[in-house]
Symmetry: D2
Subunit: 293 residues, 4 copies
């Protein structure tokens, strides 16, 4: 039985006797009241030991948003937009970007991807139809690609078909994640240039979303919304305890916060607006409010 998490920061915290410490760099900063932790996995050995592919993983806490502080939304958007800009490749003005929302809209803890797509400003068609007005805007396509059980098509196959059509220079993929412990649930957002394996945190791994799959850089944005019973149990066992209540659970159990509806909607909007601000820096949050309503 293992401790499982999609968050590099948690994985690192739980790897107490890491040998390849040289292959990992960790930093922390605070921007506009939001704490940002970055873990860089630099060597193949460190990647194997940590169980996370090479790349940069930045985690921002959403505490000011959770506390409903004044101006928390625009600040959260700017911080996340900055992290995305750092991880996105340098792109020509003509380069287009494809934004993909993963997950099942009907299961709230899994809905952050599809909900986020509703806040993405799609511009690819405007740019070609009205070049005088929109010629200087980044060409953006966006789609929620559904889940295998509902479509019969792997999300990665679906996305590959879209890539053939829109030929993006980068893919941004938004998904729900599994955390290894309760305190992170719905309170942090992880951004990484290492891509993502959808469903890996809930023992339902699907085809990977990464540079190998699509031939272009893939930036993954994730909100942890579930933790499984095995991870809860792991914490207790670390202390030498026996938790009969958790052991008796037949099959995997995943829990999610009680306030998940509000939290997922809030985070989906922050992520969507941050993606727009990173891709169309000439548009303010107020502009986006008008364009997306």
């Amino acid at each position: 039985m293992a401790f499982r998490t999609d968050l590099a920061r948690e994985a690192l915290n739980h790897s107490k006797n890491l040998r390849n410490t040289a292959g990992i760099r960790q930093t922390q900063r605070t921007i506009d009241g939001f704490t940002v932790d970055c873990v860089e996995v630099l060597s193949r050995e460190a990647a194997e030991e940590l169980g996370k592919p090479c790349g940069a993983y930045c985690t921002m806490t959403l505490a000011p948003l959770t506390r409903r502080e004044s101006e928390a939304f625009p600040h959260a958007v700017e911080v996340l937009s900055g992290l995305l800009t750092e991880l996105l490749p340098n792109m020509d003005d003509d380069a287009s970007v494809l934004v993909i929302g993963l997950g099942n809209r009907a299961i709230t803890p899994d809905a952050v991807g599809p909900l986020c797509i509703e806040h993405i400003l799609a511009t690819r068609h405007l740019r070609s139809a009205l070049p005088e007005q929109f010629g200087s805007w980044r060409a953006v396509s966006a789609a929620a690609v559904g889940v295998l059980g509902q479509t019969g098509v792997e999300a990665a196959e679906f996305t590959r078909g879209l890539c053939d059509t829109v030929k993006p220079c980068a893919v941004i993929v938004v998904d729900a994640l599994a955390a290894g412990s309760l305190p992170h649930l719905a309170r942090t957002i992880q951004v990484t240039d290492a891509g993502i394996v959808p469903g890996s945190g809930v023992e339902n791994a699907r085809q990977a979303f990464n540079r190998e799959a699509f031939g272009v850089p893939v930036i993954a944005v994730g909100l942890p919304t579930v933790v499984d019973g095995a991870s809860l149990l792991w914490h207790a066992k670390q202390q030498g305890a026996v938790c009969p209540e958790l052991e008796e659970l037949s099959g995997p159990v995943f829990v999610t916060p009680r306030e998940i509806d509000q939290q997922v909607h809030d985070a989906a909007k922050v992520i969507g607006y941050a993606i727009n601000r990173a891709l169309q820096p000439h548009l303010s949050i107020g502009d986006l409010d008008l364009l997306l309503s």
Copy 2:
């Protein structure tokens, strides 16, 4: 720090050294594949020790429904309808019943009450407007009364105002409950003639719904949808363990199953149909499908 649960059955299981065992009677039966556990709290001493008022508490597991067995829905409706019929008072043909849904529709784990009301067949107005057709039907009123933070009015005050208007002979109240451990979450329904204190399981106790409050019998139907961090911690501590991850949680944390959307909708429909069948035994499930669509 205490173990908390709204389920009498769980409270009893966790009270290992109960002194007033004579004041408690426990039975178990299986009906159509559904296990039904009943706990009767018979004496005031037992009630105090258990922390539950006197009355009968019946818990039915929803296992066949969770497993999507064929005919699970109609069987679940019939079993629950039977439990309701046992607990409802004997009523004249002219006696009316008021069904109240408690909770916040916007928070899925709290939405079972309002969702259930959508499946209740309200007949009070038909009975008076078309006595020839509906004169033999039970007069039923139904309302989702909202939560204090959204209305400014206690749910019990709201209900008292309705009782003054419709003068029911019994009130049936549907609400979400807090369980003390994960395995019961969204997998059982508790029915009791002891009423309910809404929010008591989530440390937000409101005015009670019971015979004292409204002057008529109150039957409470509840679906456990959350368990708090303190209860998870209690389980580990019983074993002498320390769970730093849970201890570090500032403020109460409540978790709910990942599949809560489907589970709450399923249970709300079972409860709604069971109430209809208990109050209008001349209507089949097929009749209700047509009348409620």
Copy 3:
């Protein structure tokens, strides 16, 4: 066959040969880009001829909002808030107000009342629980009271029970209206101190909401969202035309705009915020955003 409308302004426009012109006063102004038409029905004779009870009926167009103009939302809120303030009675600081949303949330053209209630800041419980912080705030209660077919209780009975509990000095009631022609649909809001007869525009008249019913002033806010086939036919017949297509409709047909989802959500938010601003003038729109999220 008659032309039917809940809008006093439309009723007046279609009453070409009005005899009691002295009993009616009509004014028009433009505030922040929003046109406001007011019709005052001053005499009983004029009321009978017009088919509208005595009182002031102010209609504001939503054109800047429909065109998604910058700042249209805050301006619309301020204009409507001003109209409400004009029609509300003078109230002591201690006087409380009850806001009622009428209609069926499951039918989009009928959902403006319930949706609006989600934007109302309920404060009655705060004022009594935390007098030091909230003692100077207006005590506000709010409820969506459902429809007779779903509750078995007349909305007016329901509201009377609430009035007994909260003892308001004024009732504000929000409902969908029927217009007599297409151009007004979802593009205007009518505010009146004459109350409302819910459902009268869709041939399903219920008990009235007015001063006689509750003993206090009743301000009705309405959004026209449907027009019936008979009214469409009336327009054609006025021209001497025969419209076989409309005549062949068996039973009443009501049409609504294609974009009704967005329009009803937008209007519900404008109305909700305007009511808050009229009742709590010390709170800005930004304050309300934080308090209601």
Copy 4:
């Protein structure tokens, strides 16, 4: 100014002096209480005169469903399933089918496509992953492909990408239609093997969905949910009338029935189940209930 309709039956009824009557065949039958009208457009001349491409157009009324008759749902499913089976090509057991839902889920009159997809049983992944259990089932893929304004990608481009991936032998496409008059709104379903030009009825024509576009037969299933102001006006003008109220409408106005929420959900379920029954005739409606819940 022209009369516009996506329904071949309406187009034919309004073409009074058709010259190419030989190129058109019309039949009517009643199955299980549902009236089915078929129009076959057989010659290129007839197609041009009628404004509809060559093919068979079958329209079934939903009257028994609208009247909530007992067994109306299963009967509607069987009738529509039969029409689909007539129009689908003969297919090998190994041939796969792609089902596409067109339209905008956030606009109720446009949501029938995306809602229908929620009722489609996707089996392509099961067939390859579990050939022993599902090897004899038809391989079905399903997707709601969004609208250009939200994705930046034409629905037809999106679908072409999917066709490259799943290589279907037929495409079934579900969309909302524009009717030319009120009585047909949401009360009929049209099935055709002539494909569809999405948005053509609301003056927003997109790339066609037909055999030319995808290289395989395309069956289109449509529910008329809107009628435009110009068509309403056309009816009146035919009678020599002037309708100033309709003429004053700036820009196109589309109306939809007041009960559109229920009607669209009902029709989406009928269409979804009928497609499943046509593609997987070995599964009963009860089987589908269990598999899709």
